[in-house]
């Protein structure tokens, strides 16, 4: 047995929102939420993270599931994903595969099969890794989050979740309850990941794109990168450059150069800043081409 270096904590698993609220109101400080635990279990053991109260959210069964709300007059359709839905569920969901392909495409490349069975979408977002595989897809899908705390719930665009590596803007007693993807029928989306290995690795850079065309010209475009800064980022200059232009490989390559200019990657054990800057244009161009190929 490996020594438990992490400090001890009280563990609880509330079965209802009322119970959760009561626990949070009573606990003074040091609360941490447990979703799938695939990152947190290691960090708590090694002492990288510590808490006084570990609140396991798995008892809130309504946090799991994927459902579509059909479009109504004046209102777009949307897909709602409970925050404790496993990465594996995203991977195999036909609705997402058809209407938001970038997300299942990212999901199937996250960790190992065993990890994907435990890891959750909400956990991947709240862990706030700059290269979280589900982050870039959600950014290009215009996802928004429903947050919950004992004092009420609020909605934010996914973009406003992250502060920097490992840090979100969530309040200490706040959790992600639901992720909502507004549907856009004429949209092509894609995800790509660059890492040292084909499988089971953390990305050096990952990228997602979404594209819509009107009369052969780009009428809507989103590009997002992980690993290009201290949090997952939209590449807004590259997007602005492409808007209204024809969807050609040349334009995509130019957008890639712009994306590298608006990135500020750091050097880490995984790759140097220079390597990341050199690969951003290539990956950006490729992911745009892939999104384009999904349009027809």
């Amino acid at each position: 047995m490996i020594e438990q270096r992490g400090k001890g904590y009280e563990y609880c698993r509330p079965g209802s929102w009322e119970e959760l609220a009561a626990i949070l109101c009573k606990a003074e400080a040091g609360v941490m939420f447990l979703a799938g635990g695939t990152d947190l279990a290691v960090d708590l053991r090694t002492g990288k993270k510590s808490c006084a109260h570990l609140v396991d959210l798995k008892g809130l069964t309504e946090l799991q599931g994927i459902a579509e709300t059909a479009a109504e007059e004046g209102k777009k359709g949307e897909i709602c994903i409970g925050s404790l839905t496993s990465i594996h569920q995203l991977e195999i969901n036909p609705l997402l595969q058809e209407k938001a392909a970038a997300l299942p495409e990212a999901a199937c490349q996250l960790g190992s099969r065993q990890v994907r069975n435990r890891a959750t979408l909400g956990g991947n977002l709240a862990n706030a890794s700059p290269t979280a595989d589900t982050a870039a897809p959600l950014l290009v899908l215009d996802a928004f989050l429903e947050l919950w705390s004992p004092s009420g719930s609020r909605h934010i665009p996914v973009e406003d979740l992250w502060q920097k590596a490992g840090k979100t803007f969530l309040a200490a007693d706040e959790i992600i309850r639901q992720i909502t993807l507004p549907l856009a029928p004429g949209r092509g989306t894609a995800f790509m990941k660059l890492g040292p290995r084909q499988a089971m690795d953390i990305a050096i850079i990952n990228a997602a794109a979404s594209l819509e065309l009107e009369d052969g010209r780009i009428s809507q475009v989103r590009i997002a990168l992980g690993g290009a800064g201290e949090r997952p980022l939209r590449m807004k200059q590259a997007e602005a450059f492409l808007l209204g232009k024809e969807a050609t490989a040349e334009h995509f390559a130019q957008a890639g150069v712009l994306a590298a200019q608006e990135s500020s990657p750091r050097s880490s054990r995984r790759a140097s800043r220079e390597y990341r800057l050199a690969t951003i244009p290539v990956l950006t161009e490729r992911v745009l081409l892939k999104a384009l190929s999904r349009l027809s």
């Binding site: 279990a41 190992s112 499988a199 089971m200």
Partner: protein
């Protein structure tokens, strides 16, 4: 830190264990339940040696805390053989010579078992994908894939 009581189904039998909430499932199974087939390798969910099935799904037990398995059904290698008779999949591993040092074997067998329970006749590609989270550092994967092929009647 207070101990907590955890009840779950282990290899088809209900068990209740009193333990600390920060105990990992791999340690709980090895130390409190005598399931020493569950091996610890990397301790961070990369190698798959500690794979067990939770409600039929393969997971790495080094990434799970004791409290997380409350009410779940756990299958370890100990639960595969019945009355001293090896499961067909285990026999295939023996016959195909798919075991060298043996450390990765329990995890390999359980990942393969999860696949065969859902899909009794997987393709070679499906077998490769199902075992992609289990690393073997001895012998490579040819004989391991062959063992699963044999068990699937391919």
């Amino acid at each position: 830190m207070d101990k907590i009581k955890i009840s779950f189904i282990l290899n088809d039998k209900p068990v209740t264990v009193e333990t600390y909430p920060n105990k990992r499932v791999v340690d709980l199974l090895r130390e409190d339940c005598e399931c020493t087939s569950v091996k610890e390798g990397c301790s961070e969910g990369e190698c798959g040696a500690c794979t067990v099935l939770v409600n039929g799904t393969p997971v790495t037990s080094c990434l799970m805390l004791a409290g997380q398995i409350e009410g779940d059904s756990i299958l370890t290698l100990e639960g595969l053989s019945k009355d001293g008779e090896l499961d067909k999949l285990q026999t295939s591993f023996v016959e195909a010579g798919a075991v060298q040092c043996g450390y990765c074997t329990p995890g390999m067998v359980l990942s393969a078992k999860a696949l065969l329970m859902k899909n009794p006749h997987p393709t070679h590609e499906e077998i490769r994908r199902a075992l992609s989270g289990n690393l073997c550092r001895c012998t490579g994967y040819t004989k391991i894939f062959k063992a699963v092929d044999m068990a699937a009647g391919n």
